[in-house]
């Protein structure tokens, strides 16, 4: 035997090595970005940014419970104190006034720069008179002691005004000086992490830090009461989801592999053949990863996980080869017989998956590229490499007996073709006229979170009275000053809308850090000392204030005229600094201000009014609506692409098979299988998601092999029995592999697994039912 014959093996091994080299240098990502659009609209872009990096996604909600109130409060203090030492967190809030002194000093020292009451009119004689009258009213009320503290330095009430504004934000109630859930014995803590929400490893570290800090706090806080920590929020979820998907994917993939292996071993009774049986699919997976890496630069974890299931049909190729090889003959003699059908099957699948390549979602495009590269590799290995390695001595045991029985069964089954046709039309009509939503259009439906977890999260959120993360206004400007000025413009519009009860409140970076322009304007509104004194004297006429009472005010107000403007470092170690840093951030070459909204009553009106605010690049984001719209776009696009994929398959089959009758015989069973499977899913109460759609695409890819083999065979041939046997075996492997996945609680695994398992078995049955009659034989042959 000459070495020259073995060049395919050399190419295969060389290719594998090259692919492995690429894979070793591949960057694997787990962030959501691959499953978000590549060329997003402004709203989508902001949504994606917020989901990837936003404040909304950096929050950890915590509750401490299971001990008496005093013990919980002590735990909350100790635990939060520890976390504040850690630089992984930008803010830890448990209701303690850790910044109270700094906060008050900051407000007091900068009251004329911060108060939006400060205008020229405010310091006119009439303005001062109004302010003094208001102060007198307050003095003659139960708030008198409060007013007295500030009266001589601040008769115009700037400090009270700032206090009122600060108090307006919703906060949980306090017991023993820390936040507690209303009517529940649970201390509340909120942490904000530094790590990017897409960095799940860092988030996992943060959660470990939290767990460790809590254990240490438990040990240091005395008493028999240990309490326990409950955590929730986006960070906890993303870590949990990753773990769960990883665990389920590993567990079920392993189970599926074991089942398929067991079936192949039981049939072939040879570890060597088993090894050859798995060779194409493994090679395909390796080539698929390398191809995606080369084409996209990075490979997404989901591509990795689900790509392998997409090329599951590659396991079938060697089965067809082995099972259809006649005793005493070599696989190389089998190949010319089955190759045209096999090739047609692969190309059909490629047509289907090829549609995914055009998706504007990088994730779907990656899955398409992976499948195509994987299937091409698998079929090439089956066609050129395995026959060489098997040698002449190969002899696969074949379950002929089963084939014989099935052959008879198929003869009977053909009678059902009209029934299947009628039922298919019924299924089509049912789907078209289905009363109710066929598709699940909520992004949340894709989340693997249990309802209990969602409820617990909502409960913590409500208890914390956290601003609902649902609505944001986002502004991008080239400079920091510009972003602050823009948020002031937006803030003014929001104030107007608050008065009309369109929303209850909002936060803005400029509340405690006004733009320089605004600060300068406020400074300039204060008159010189002499003028101020004269106006004050006039305003005080007839009022019971002691004449020299407001000397401190005259000094401080006139000093504020030349006061240094508030800079970023002035906000350090105040709660306002934390707010400003959270809401104002550098993004690429620009500055982004975020204004979270509270208590939104009329989102449509709000969207309309925000759109009219004269700030360029302003975006009003309704996160749930935007996410669902995004997902709907995603799903609709996938549906459209699948449709084109099916068209491509038809066109391809038309060109290859040439006769309409043959095309129909191949296509009808697949169409019937897709219709039956969809109807079955809907009837059993499932709303179809994108995962079911991918499952249906897979059904067509796998099923087309069945119908092509049936179509390509005349049932009078001797090989017909072998073909049936090989199809049943391949089908068994597919059902085992995907059926296992349907037991997963994770929507993506469950959806794909269930759809393909049902779809594959229906495809096989329908392919048999619609197959050609044996030459010259009657249908009802006993």
């Amino acid at each position: 035997m000459t070495g020259a014959r073995y060049w395919p093996v050399a190419i295969w091994l060389g290719g594998l090595l090259a692919c492995l080299f690429v894979i070793v240098h591949t960057v694997f990502t787990t962030d959501l970005s691959a499953f978000l659009p590549r060329a997003p609209a402004p709203t989508e872009k902001v949504l994606v940014e917020q989901l990837r990096e936003g404040v909304v996604s950096r929050i950890i909600l915590m509750g401490i419970e299971g001990a008496p109130q005093s013990a919980l409060a002590a735990l909350s203090r100790n635990f939060s104190g520890r976390l504040r030492q850690n630089r992984n967190f930008t803010a830890i809030n448990n209701g303690e006034d850790v910044h109270q002194k700094n906060d008050q000093a900051f407000l007091w020292n900068n009251r004329y720069l911060l108060s939006d009451q400060v205008t020229t009119d405010h310091f006119s004689e009439q303005g001062l008179r109004r302010a003094l009258e208001a102060s007198l009213d307050l003095l003659n009320s139960d708030a008198a002691p409060l007013v007295k503290i500030y009266l001589t330095s601040d008769p115009t009430g700037e400090m009270l005004h700032l206090f009122d504004a600060a108090q307006a934000t919703a906060q949980p109630q306090k017991k023993d000086g820390v936040w507690f859930a209303p009517a529940a014995n649970r201390a509340l803590v909120v942490a904000q992490i530094v790590a990017n929400p897409s960095d799940v490893d860092a988030q996992q570290t943060d959660l470990a830090v939290i767990a460790k800090a809590f254990t240490a706090a438990q040990q240091q806080t005395d008493g028999a009461y240990k309490g326990r920590l409950v955590t929730s929020g986006p960070v906890v979820f993303s870590v949990g989801i990753r773990d769960r998907i990883k665990r389920d994917a590993e567990r079920f993939s392993l189970l599926a592999t074991l089942l398929v292996t067991a079936i192949l071993l039981a049939v072939y009774r040879s570890p060597r053949i088993l090894l050859f049986g798995l060779m194409p699919v493994v090679s395909g997976a390796i080539a698929g990863i390398a191809a995606v890496s080369l084409a996209f630069g990075t490979v997404h974890g989901i591509t990795l996980g689900f790509g392998v299931t997409l090329i599951g049909e590659a396991v079938d190729y060697p089965i067809y080869l082995f099972t259809q090889t006649a005793p005493g003959t070599s696989p190389e003699t089998t190949l010319p017989r089955i190759w045209p059908t096999l090739r047609l099957g692969v190309l059909t699948s490629i047509c289907g998956f090829g549609a995914l390549l055009f998706s504007s979602f990088a994730g779907l495009a990656q899955l398409g590229a992976f499948s195509i590269a994987g299937l091409v590799t698998a079929i090439c290995v089956t066609r050129w490499v395995i026959p060489l390695l098997l040698q002449q001595s190969f002899r696969a045991p074949r379950p002929i007996a089963i084939g014989q029985q099935l052959r008879n069964l198929i003869g009977v089954a053909r009678k059902l073709r009209w029934a299947v046709l009628i039922l298919s039309v019924a299924a089509l009509l049912f789907l078209v006229f289905h009363n109710g939503a066929l598709w699940d259009d909520e992004l949340a439906s894709l989340s693997p979170l249990s309802n209990a977890e969602k409820t617990a999260d909502q409960q913590l959120r409500n208890q914390l009275g956290a601003p609902d993360a649902g609505y944001l206004v986002v502004v991008n400007r080239p400079t920091q000053e510009g972003a602050l000025a823009a948020s002031e413009t937006v803030g003014a519009a929001l104030q107007r809308l608050m008065a009309q009860h369109v929303l209850a409140g909002f936060e803005s970076p400029s509340t405690y850090w006004p733009s320089n322009a605004t600060q300068v304007k406020r400074r300039a509104a204060i008159p010189e000392r002499a003028a101020l004194e004269q106006r004050l004297q006039e305003a005080m006429r007839g009022m019971p204030f002691r004449p020299d009472l407001f000397a401190p005010f005259l000094d401080q107000a006139s000093a504020a005229r030349t006061q240094r403007l508030i800079r970023h470092q002035d906000l350090a170690n105040t709660s306002f600094g934390e707010i400003a840093d959270t809401l104002l951030a550098r993004r690429d070459a620009s500055w982004q201000a975020i204004l979270p909204l509270r208590g939104v009553r009329d989102p449509n009106r709000l969207a309309q009014e925000i759109g009219a605010v004269p700030v360029p690049g302003i975006v009003f984001l309704n996160i749930k609506q935007a996410s669902d719209t995004l997902y709907r776009t995603y799903r609709q696009q996938s549906l459209l692409l699948s449709f084109f994929g099916v068209l491509a398959i038809f066109a391809f089959l038309g060109v290859s098979l040439k006769q309409a009758r043959r095309v129909i015989r191949v296509v009808l069973p697949l169409a019937a299988a897709v219709l039956f499977t969809s109807t079955l899913l809907v009837v059993t109460g499932q709303k179809l998601s994108i995962f079911h759609l991918i499952g249906l695409l897979l059904t067509v890819a796998v099923g087309s092999n069945y119908s092509l083999f049936f179509e390509g065979q005349s049932s009078g041939d001797e090989s017909y029995t072998w073909v049936i046997a090989s199809l049943v075996l391949a089908n068994l492997c597919t059902i085992a592999g995907f059926g296992v996945l349907s037991f997963s609680g994770i929507p993506v695994l469950h959806g794909i697994g269930m759809t393909v398992a049902i779809g594959a078995i229906l495809s096989l049955i329908f392919s048999a039912i619609f197959s050609r009659r044996p030459n010259g034989a009657k249908d009802a042959r006993p």
């Binding site: 009320s141 002691p145 007295k148 108090q167 017991k175 019971p544």
Partner: protein, 195 residues
């Protein structure tokens, strides 16, 4: 903190609601007074208040009605010179200012107000143990004319309120005087609503 002081005055004023109970003979003791006060289920009285403040050249005068419903609801409605009100109901306190601005706080958020409200409830409800829990309490005079003096235990609270003097006759409160740390004081006199 400042706000807490404001509430303090309020609470003391509310503490001055009259109790309607039967007199008892013999020497006048705290126990007797408290026992009598504990019979009070509520009612409405007029008040008239003067605040003496070093910042001002003359005292500020106000008047209105006080409403008490045992055990949790207390209301001070000032009618003159400008209408405003304060309502303590259960765990919340609501202030409506002369300018129409209204705000509600939770008493838990302000521990010192919490202490004052407890003192107030103890006085109105005749709970001597509760009263002594946060104050130094002394009683002098006779059943016909007595004076109850309360000094807060909490040093932080004493920086705002030095002493509270409540005078009365039998189980009716007649006046409440609050001495503030800076020398300022307020004097409230109480009269039954004229029929």
């Amino acid at each position: 903190m400042g706000r807490a002081a404001g509430m303090l005055l309020l609470c003391l004023e509310l503490a001055s609601l009259p109790a309607r109970a039967q007199d008892s003979a013999g020497s006048w003791t705290l126990d007797q007074l408290m026992q009598g006060l504990s019979q009070n289920k509520g009612g409405t009285v007029n008040f008239s208040e003067d605040q003496y403040d070093a910042m001002l050249t003359r005292p500020l005068h106000s008047s209105g009605v006080l409403v008490y419903a045992a055990p949790n609801r207390l209301e001070k409605d000032t009618l003159l010179p400008k209408p405003q009100s304060v309502i303590i109901d259960g765990a919340t306190l609501t202030m409506r200012q002369a300018n129409g601005r209204s705000r509600t706080i939770r008493l838990q958020d302000y521990p010192q107000i919490g202490v004052l409200v407890e003192t107030l409830r103890a006085t109105l409800g005749g709970d001597l143990a509760g009263l002594k829990n946060a104050n130094d309490v002394s009683l002098k005079g006779t059943a016909d004319q007595w004076q109850l003096t309360l000094t807060p235990d909490d040093p932080a609270l004493r920086k705002l309120v030095k002493e509270i003097r409540i005078s009365g006759s039998h189980f009716a409160l007649l006046s409440v005087e609050v001495l503030q740390a800076g020398g300022d004081r307020s004097m409230m006199t109480i009269a039954k609503v004229s029929p």
